[in-house]
């Protein structure tokens, strides 16, 4: 693990980092300020690249010496050759894509593995909030009001598992995170994970 690393990373990013073999080739899609990439490059000797839509994020990354391009994953992923990377990472972004399914296909074409993390819309707090107040939930994982949220394709852990099955994508590892960022492996019961996991991280391959 990474106790020695000076900057504390988001819990899901740490889980993702732990899934990646040292020295591999990684593309981080939607790499934001480059926290994960920076860790992977400097702590795991990864050949890391990133794509980020926001100019501020790109400037921060490149200014920090990271190889990041300003671009839109939904169009730019098509440029890369097949299996150009060992891992393609998409953290907390799939739900903001216009076409999540085709994005997922691209991730698995460009990478030998894809690592996807997403918020779970079936978490019991969200269900409870919706039932009791009758309003779209706003919480630390989903901090936006419905009218300004970039999350246009929210799904549940169960939805995502079903999509993978439909696309014949193998889920090699799956871990859920509770409210405090404590990770739990998916046990027997998808029902329980879907109820208590606030977000989930999947290691996928075709």
């Amino acid at each position: 693990m990474s106790a020695a690393y000076p900057k504390a990373m988001r819990a899901d990013l740490q889980l993702i980092a732990d899934m990646i073999e040292p020295g591999s080739r990684v593309l981080d899609v939607g790499c934001a300020d480059g926290a994960l990439l920076d860790y992977l490059v400097n702590e795991k000797g990864v050949d890391g690249r990133g794509i980020e839509l926001g100019a501020d994020g790109v400037n921060a990354c490149v200014s920090a010496g990271l190889s990041v391009i300003q671009g839109d994953a939904e169009t730019d992923l098509f440029d890369y050759p097949d299996h150009a990377f060992d891992y393609v990472v998409l953290s907390q972004t799939l739900q903001a894509m216009r076409a999540p399914k085709s994005t997922l296909e691209q991730l698995l074409r460009v990478g030998r593995h894809a690592i996807v993390s997403l918020p779970n819309f079936a978490h019991w707090r969200l269900r409870w909030h919706l039932v009791v107040s009758g309003r779209m939930p706003v919480n630390p994982t989903l901090p936006y009001e419905w009218y300004e949220t970039p999350n246009i394709h929210l799904c549940t852990i169960r939805d995502f598992v079903i999509l993978c099955r439909k696309m014949r994508v193998t889920i090699e590892r799956s871990i859920s995170l509770d409210r405090n960022g404590v990770p739990r492996r998916f046990g027997r019961s998808l029902y329980m994970v879907n109820l208590f996991g606030e977000q989930a991280v999947f290691l996928l391959r075709t």
């Binding site: 190889s67 391009i69 671009g71 730019d76 050759p81």
Partner: protein, 395 residues
């Protein structure tokens, strides 16, 4: 070295000595140009800043733009204005001369000491004029590579350039991938568009329409096509700016007058500014060089040379790229940089790409743009780390 003939008119003192370095290359093996002509024993003028380290691994080549020259970080010997990249090159600046050995070479076809139409053709003993062979961006780069051979620099740490300099960077990356560690094309394009060619043609026609051009042999008659070259510069200068920048700088403000004069004087500040740009340009630039260099840019089309696919130029490239564009650049707009990035992604090259928000237009790469400078500094720092360059200053 005395001032090239094209910049000397009758009555000018001709004992002006050009500072910097100048060597004659192609003495053993001539430079074979794309047009088929071979150049032997031709001069190349360059300027260097900082110190080359022991293993020669800290050299940066900066490629200058159409009207630039090798005097990028010092007072210009003719105009006495500060160097065109004074902001960028020097101790503590993004191209830190405490760490890097920074070279800038006057391009082939130029008029500041390298072989060009205003230099002497050794075979005839007179200026080349229009008998100078038409050169290409690739020819410029080959001449630079010969200079590096001469200097004993096997591999550049980085090759960096804006505008036409960026074209040379791309050419370096495609032609000499093993001699470049990092490449930074800024505000550049991998080909000249119809619009780019069109603007250049306006400039060339303005020069050739000036009676003082004398069919390209103006020096024979002690003349220089000042007016034509100034108009060419004025038209080109507009393409280097942006509408917001022009609006911010001049708007419709009048030049030292209360109201319109109902004549064709420079009523508006923008007119006065352009006239000044034109006039000051002709002091330091040769009209025939302008024809040759704009032609080289028009001929530039990397994809065409690589079977129609730009990506073919970069297959298996080991180079770390950083492509930079500016939002308000309409001469080489971001879409052109993106084309380069797409080609590099198609071969899974190591590439960074940042579009810098600026209203400086194409010339933003010459301006004080802190975000741009941060990006370039950071990219070079990351590359230096990968290259294993020491963090302590050289020398």
């Amino acid at each position: 070295m005395i001032l090239p003939k094209g910049l000397v008119s009758a009555g000018d003192p001709i004992d002006f000595v050009l500072p910097g370095h100048r060597v004659f290359l192609g003495c053993d093996r001539p430079l074979k140009l794309d047009c088929g002509v071979e150049l032997s024993e031709f001069p190349v003028a360059y300027q260097a800043y900082g110190r080359l380290n022991k293993d020669g691994s800290n050299a940066i080549l900066v490629c200058h733009a159409l009207t630039g020259d090798q005097f990028m970080a010092e007072s210009h010997p003719l105009t006495h204005k500060e160097g065109w990249w004074d902001l960028m090159v020097g101790p503590g600046k993004p191209l830190d001369t405490m760490h890097y050995f920074v070279l800038c070479v006057n391009v082939l076809g130029g008029c500041m000491g390298s072989a060009g139409p205003s230099e002497i053709n050794p075979e005839t003993g007179e200026a080349w004029g229009l008998s100078f062979p038409v050169i290409t961006i690739a020819d410029m780069v080959r001449a630079q590579a010969m200079l590096l051979d001469h200097l004993g620099i096997e591999k550049l740490f980085a090759v960096i350039g804006g505008s036409m300099g960026g074209m040379q960077v791309l050419e370096w990356a495609a032609s000499f991938p093993q001699r470049v560690f990092a490449a930074v094309p800024i505000a550049a394009a991998a080909h000249h568009t119809a619009q780019n060619i069109a603007f250049h043609e306006v400039g060339r026609q303005a020069i050739m329409a000036d009676p003082d051009w004398c069919g390209g042999e103006y020096w024979r008659y002690g003349k220089r096509p000042h007016r034509g070259l100034a108009v060419a510069r004025m038209a080109a200068h507009i393409t280097y700016l942006s509408e917001p920048k022009l609006h911010e700088k001049f708007g419709r403000r009048l030049q030292d007058r209360e109201g319109l004069t109902y004549g064709f004087d420079a009523d508006f500040q923008v007119e006065s500014y352009l006239r000044h740009q034109g006039i000051s340009f002709v002091e330091r630039f040769d009209a025939n060089s302008y024809l040759y260099i704009t032609r080289a840019m028009d001929y530039f089309d990397m994809a065409a040379r690589y079977g129609g696919g730009l990506a073919n130029a970069f297959v298996d490239t080991p180079i770390r790229f950083c492509v930079i564009s500016f939002t308000s650049d309409w001469l080489y707009p971001t879409v052109e940089s993106r084309r380069i990035v797409h080609a590099l992604n198609a071969v899974a090259a190591n590439v960074s790409f940042a579009e810098i928000v600026s209203n400086g237009g194409h010339d933003a790469f010459l301006l004080d743009e802190p975000k741009f400078h941060r990006v370039l500094t950071g990219f070079l720092g990351g590359a230096a780390q990968h290259r294993g360059l020491p963090k302590t200053p050289t020398g």
